[in-house]
């Protein structure tokens, strides 16, 4: 029955090898190990090469997916990566952190059979291949336009906008508030999900192509948007991210051992606490850790805590499993690593000891009622169901609000009622002439690829503006 076997084989998705859960839960190495060339070719040959591919419609940056997959199938790996680069500057990043299940892979016709092509894995394979082989995007010889664009924030939106604008011959300078470029890719997403070398490579390649990067520059404080124009910039793109972490606003929240996921992850990732005391920044080593929230950031926090030596890590979430906003793959990874889920549970108060350190949490059980504005069923507290859990570290991962630092210092910049910048969704244009914005500071927390899409659209509009205004 060899023939049948071949058919079944063709149907199944080639799984990406991963570090074993028991082993990886205590190290910071990347979890998925990547495809071998054989695996990649095999997975690529499953692609049906649809005439009007719906996967491309699902991609916020419209990569020609069937084309690059075909090239992988033909083992033309270097051409495959060039195909991707036509649309995506950060494939090594996107292949790892995009929610493909809601985008390209979610639209794949094979999805109906539950076996979509592993587009993300293939993208990652092509990008890693290029990195290993030192293949560089040939920068086209462009006539410089003589126009200068300031990019505020070096996260996914800023990096994409910068790359696209440089590809049109404009000069760009990227301003970053922290001491290292990369934004959320560096401070937020952990090493085991996105190795920082990869981000550094991407940034360096932009620099080699002529981008200037100014770290330690807080636009709004060190320099204002107005001053950037005075210095001779022709346009400004704001991609500073959302920032301001949300708290629970319940009693005891300022006890020692309670922190935002932003703080926890920044200590862990940007300041490299997992190398403490080699690196100087400390982090509380929780033995029993509670993470509030159930998005990707919550999973990242919980998995980081596990790697830093926790005995137990519990994700505490007020709705049920179905409503958890994290990617299925992340939830799965977390579970494999021994992270527990305390669902339909809401903390109402933190408990501390006499030194002001958190020792526990009082929670209440919830049940799901009628759907709310978000369409999800609203969690309602069950009266009298209070109970206590003990924990010595609490990480709050319930989202972020708009950071007012830059917006407050920029007169005339129109904000919506939540403090996010009002920008045209198609172009990123703001209320100030010559100023564009995109990413989380416009939409609120979203994904890396959505921010990249916004960077791309803004770059297109900026280019138009710069060429028509000359």
């Amino acid at each position: 029955m060899a023939g049948n076997e071949a058919v079944t084989e063709k149907k199944t998705r080639v799984a990406m090898p991963e570090q074993e859960p028991d082993y990886r839960r205590r190290n910071f190495e990347e979890v998925p190990l990547g495809y071998t060339p054989e695996m990649a070719v095999k997975e690529a040959s499953r692609c049906l090469q649809c005439k009007s591919p719906s996967c491309v419609e699902g991609c916020p940056v419209e990569i020609d997916i069937p084309a690059f997959i075909q090239l992988i199938k033909e083992e033309k790996f270097d051409e495959a990566i060039k195909k991707i680069w036509e649309k995506n500057r950060l494939p090594a990043v996107c292949g790892r952190v995009c929610p493909q299940e809601n985008q390209c892979e979610g639209r794949c016709v094979l999805m109906k059979k539950g076996r979509p092509i592993a587009i993300g894995n293939l993208e990652r394979f092509a990008a890693d291949f290029a990195r290993e082989k030192g293949i560089e995007e040939a920068s086209p010889r462009l006539v410089p336009t003589g126009k200068k664009v300031a990019i505020v924030g070096s996260g996914p939106a800023g990096l994409t906008a910068a790359a696209d604008l440089m590809a049109k011959g404009h000069q760009v300078t990227i301003f970053e508030a922290l001491h290292k470029p990369g934004g959320v890719l560096v401070y937020g997403i952990p090493e085991f999900r996105l190795p920082k070398d990869i981000v550094a490579d991407e940034v360096e390649s932009l620099e080699r192509q002529g981008a200037e990067i100014e770290c330690n520059t807080v636009v709004g404080r060190t320099v204002t948007i107005n001053e950037l124009f005075e210095e001779g910039y022709d346009a400004v793109f704001i991609g500073v991210g959302a920032g301001l972490p949300k708290f629970m606003n319940i009693p005891g929240e300022n006890l020692v051992g309670i922190m935002s996921a932003n703080e926890y992850l920044t200590r862990a990732n940007l300041m490299k606490v997992y190398l403490f005391p080699e690196y100087d920044t400390p982090i509380p080593k929780g033995k029993n850790v509670a993470v509030l929230g159930a998005g990707n950031v919550a999973m990242d926090s919980g998995r980081t805590a596990m790697r830093l030596g926790a005995d137990t890590v519990r994700i505490v979430y007020r709705r049920s499993r179905e409503e958890m906003p994290a990617r299925a793959a992340e939830i799965h990874h977390a579970e494999e690593e021994g992270i527990e889920f305390l669902l339909l549970t809401n903390p109402i108060r933190f408990l501390g000891d006499d030194r002001g350190r958190v020792v526990g949490m009082e929670c209440i059980k919830m049940e799901l009622g009628e759907p709310d504005a978000s369409g999800r069923r609203r969690p309602v507290a069950i009266e009298g169901s209070e109970f206590e859990i003990s924990c010595d570290l609490v990480i709050i991962a319930v989202g972020t609000d708009a950071n007012p630092l830059l917006t407050r210092s920029t007169e005339g910049l129109k904000l919506n009622k939540w403090g996010y910048i009002e920008a045209d969704p198609d172009t990123g244009k703001t209320s100030i002439e010559g100023v564009w914005a995109g990413g989380d500071i416009v939409t609120g927390s979203a994904t890396v690829i959505q921010a990249m899409g916004a960077g791309r659209r803004a770059a297109r509009s900026i280019h138009e503006y710069l060429t028509h205004n000359s």
Binding site: T222, F247, V256, M259, S260, N262, T266, R357, N403
Partner: protein
């Protein structure tokens, strides 16, 4: 890189002054604002309120007490050495306006932060009464500088080795009794600021304090710097570092500042091991 152009040891080597080349920050810096410094690749980001800035020379000055691993590392930097990172100016500047008589109370290295503020308050026309203190004479800093910007200056030491034998709060009380005070600015160790606010409260004199909680980014991103002000959480890096002292929960602030005490020991020990190698 941010080069140290001047370095001075003060208070028997327990306090260090660094004048640092940072032209962009110097352009903008105002009294009351802070910077974040990081010595090298592995270093911590340490927030320090500036003692001075000179746009012409393109420099900023910080004066810090050597208290742990990171400040030990800072202390080792000589003139010509550089900080890898300097970020700023951060926080809100002090609101300098003419209110009448202002009492400026400084303790320890807080005096360094207080000095430019006192100077600014005097320049806009206030009568400035300075009260500065330290444990002992050898640890007192900037007495002459403070004298120059005060209409009247009181000096206190805990052991009586210089000036009044006792605490800054003793003198403050006397001043409050004797004259009409419109504003008190208190900068120093948290317990000192707490006592100052307790003393001024019955007199209903507005009291500003400058806080230095644990920080990471200094831009409102981590929330580590949150302090409870009037029962509401404020981010010291964005909304502060100055707050109305009568509304600050100092006990909580002290607890939060002790968060990493045991790690600090591990870190300092590891540092010494590295040096010994």
């Amino acid at each position: 890189m941010f080069e140290i152009v001047k370095r001075k040891e003060m208070a028997n080597g327990t306090v260090i002054l660094n004048e640092i080349k940072a032209p962009l920050i110097a352009q903008k810096a105002k009294p009351g604002q802070f910077v974040i410094l990081k010595a090298d690749e592995r270093g911590e980001r340490i927030p320090l309120t500036m003692a001075d800035s000179d746009p012409e020379r393109g420099t900023i000055t910080v004066i810090y007490k050597v208290v742990g691993r990171s400040t030990e590392l800072f202390k080792g930097l000589e003139v010509g050495d550089s900080y890898q990172d300097a970020i700023g100016p951060l926080g809100q500047p002090t609101h300098l306006e003419k209110v009448g008589t202002v009492v400026c109370v400084g303790g320890g290295t807080g005096i360094a932060v207080l000095h430019p503020i006192a100077q600014g308050l005097k320049r806009v026309g206030n009568r400035v009464v300075g009260i500065i203190g330290a444990r002992t004479e050898g640890l007192l800093i900037l007495e002459e500088e403070m004298r120059a910007v005060s209409n009247e200056l009181f000096v206190c030491t805990d052991d009586g080795s210089r000036g009044h034998h006792g605490f800054v709060t003793d003198i403050l009380k006397r001043v409050l009794e004797e004259e009409n005070v419109d504003l008190v600015v208190a900068i120093g160790p948290v317990p000192m600021m707490k006592f100052v606010t307790e003393i001024t409260k019955p007199y209903k004199v507005k009291t500003l304090v400058s806080l230095n909680p644990i920080m990471i980014d200094g831009t409102g991103m981590c929330g580590g710097c949150r302090v409870s002000v009037d029962g509401v959480n404020k981010f010291a890096c964005v909304d502060g570092p100055e707050f109305d002292g009568h509304k600050v929960d100092f006990d909580q602030l002290m607890q939060r500042l002790r968060a990493y005490q045991s790690e600090e020991k591990t870190s300092s020990k590891a540092h010494r091991c590295r040096l010994d190698q």
